[in-house]
């Protein structure tokens, strides 16, 4: 336990000393929030009487998760491996599970802060409504984070260099944020693009958060899909993660 708390606290301190990653995670969603809030948050008939912003913000939360889980985390871990940091830690009694868990917790903390800031700004400045079903929204948020981070860990475990991690991550991240509805809504996409989006975990993350936020029925299938993705990716990571 002492090893876990010390490792987590140390990683947090290191993150604060190099805030570029955290700023990246928060910057784009905030920018999108400010750009798209000009429409206001009055009920829109095409969205079933829900405000535009209420529909969009879950997408921005997914963006925070995707940025942290696919762009920041894999590159960070692959960098540690490439430099020999993981190798040195492996020569100690530190359990690999504890090490990975502490990276997950730090990622979660950054995500929660990012989500918190986004929602606070949205509510204070742009008339964002709080979620209709906050508990389910939170469950969906955690499930989304779990599935995307597990994918990120899997990616981090199998690439050799930080540069490769960055390239592969970008190859996953950009299609995902465009096709899932995180950056612009799916209902304006063509059928082909929408079908492609149906295969992406992030699409289900957005659906899982959006429905409880806007008072629509809880999408249990989406949440189940996220849970399965998280479990499968976690098992694969545990099997394939390389320390050097």
């Amino acid at each position: 336990m002492h090893a876990f708390t010390t490792t987590t606290w140390t990683e947090l301190k290191l993150l604060i000393r190099e805030p570029a990653a955290a700023i990246f995670v928060l910057g784009l969603p905030l920018l999108l929030l400010m750009m798209n809030s000009t429409h206001g948050n009055d009920p829109v008939p095409e969205l079933g009487g829900v405000g535009a912003l209420d529909t969009l913000v879950p997408g921005y939360l997914a963006l925070v998760i995707a940025t942290m889980g696919l762009m920041v985390l894999p590159v960070h871990l692959a960098g540690y491996r490439e430099q020999g940091v993981l190798r040195r830690q492996r020569a100690t009694p530190l359990s690999p599970t504890v090490l990975l868990a502490s990276h997950v917790v730090v990622a979660m903390i950054v995500t929660v802060v990012g989500v918190g800031v986004l929602v606070a700004v949205g509510m204070a400045a742009f008339d964002l409504n709080p979620p209709t079903h906050p508990v389910w929204t939170l469950v969906a948020l955690l499930m989304s984070a779990a599935s995307i981070y597990a994918l990120g860990f899997f990616l981090a475990g199998v690439v050799r260099t930080a540069r490769t991690a960055q390239a592969v991550a970008a190859g996953l991240y950009f299609p995902m944020i465009f096709l899932s509805g995180a950056t612009w809504p799916r209902h304006v996409m063509s059928d082909t693009l929408r079908t492609l989006g149906d295969f992406l975990p992030l699409t289900y993350a957005i659906e899982a958060m959006q429905h409880p936020w806007t008072g629509r029925p809880i999408p249990l299938m989406a949440i189940a899909f996220l849970a399965v993705t998280a479990i499968v990716a976690a098992i694969l990571s545990a099997r394939t993660f390389r320390w050097e």
């Binding site: 010390t6 020999g84 190798r87 040195r88 100690t92």
Partner: protein, 246 residues
């Protein structure tokens, strides 16, 4: 008396390359045991297997009666390592690194004493990236000791250190031995072997070509037709290295 480290017939290949082709050696409790040899001889692979960082393809290793393959955690709790290719996060501070690693061990050493012993006290709040080569080396040695290990593996301990610092480091290694630790020292410095090692194994091409006390190896080399005036002469004779350049 049971040797504290027993290595029997280990072999390890990386793909088609055989790095270690059948190495056996024994290290006694409380000695400073050297492992010398040319680059690529397999020295680092051998000590990594002992320290539970690599699994040999064949052979048997016991460290303090424990199996590094099956009892990984127990071995790592008792064996401290200072490795060549390892690193710390650039912005981590010296004292933070020591506290972090101390948290991994059940019986950690006193951080303040480590800082003093390895002359890192005035660098305690310095970031790892800002340290000089010698300071980095001393930090990695201190990290090897943070778990109060019974066995300490040092790989290229004094490479890159100034002569005065090398002398001080040797004294500290002797102090480790006096405090009861057993030291496994991988080195290519012959003067280090002469000054520090109670016994030494000479490794070439993945095999042990000679082992014993430095003076015994010098005697062995003179029997083989050399006239060694130093351990270095003996080493070159025993590994036949000079023949390659004759």
């Amino acid at each position: 008396m049971e040797p504290i480290i027993s290595v029997q017939g280990i072999k390890k290949s990386y793909g088609a390359t055989a790095a270690v082709s059948g190495v056996s050696l024994e290290v006694r409790r409380g000695e400073i045991f050297g492992i010398v040899g040319p680059n690529g001889a397999g020295k680092t692979t051998i000590v990594e297997c002992i320290a539970s960082l690599r699994t040999p393809d064949e052979g048997r290793i016991r460290v303090l009666g424990l199996d590094p393959v099956d009892e990984v955690r127990a071995v790592r709790e008792r064996v401290g390592v200072q490795l060549q290719q390892s690193a710390l996060p650039a912005r981590l501070r010296v004292v933070e690194a020591l506290r972090l690693f101390a948290s991994y061990y059940p019986d950690p050493a006193d951080i303040e004493s480590l800082l003093i012993d390895w002359q890192l006290s005035d660098k305690r709040d310095a970031a790892v990236a800002s340290l000089s080569g010698g300071q980095r080396q001393r930090l990695f040695i201190a990290l090897a000791l943070v778990g109060t290990p019974e066995v300490v593996v040092l790989d290229e301990l004094t490479t890159g250190l100034d002569p005065e610092v090398r002398r001080v480091t040797w004294q500290l290694v002797r102090k480790l031995r006096d405090q009861g630790a057993t030291v496994l020292l991988v080195t290519h410095f012959m003067d280090e072997v002469e000054q520090l090692c109670d016994r030494v194994a000479v490794i070439a091409a993945g095999r042990v070509v000679a082992s014993g006390t430095p003076s015994a190896l010098m005697a062995q080399a003179s029997q083989n037709g050399g006239s060694p005036r130093s351990f270095e002469d003996a080493y070159l004779t025993l590994t036949g290295a000079l023949a390659n350049y004759a």
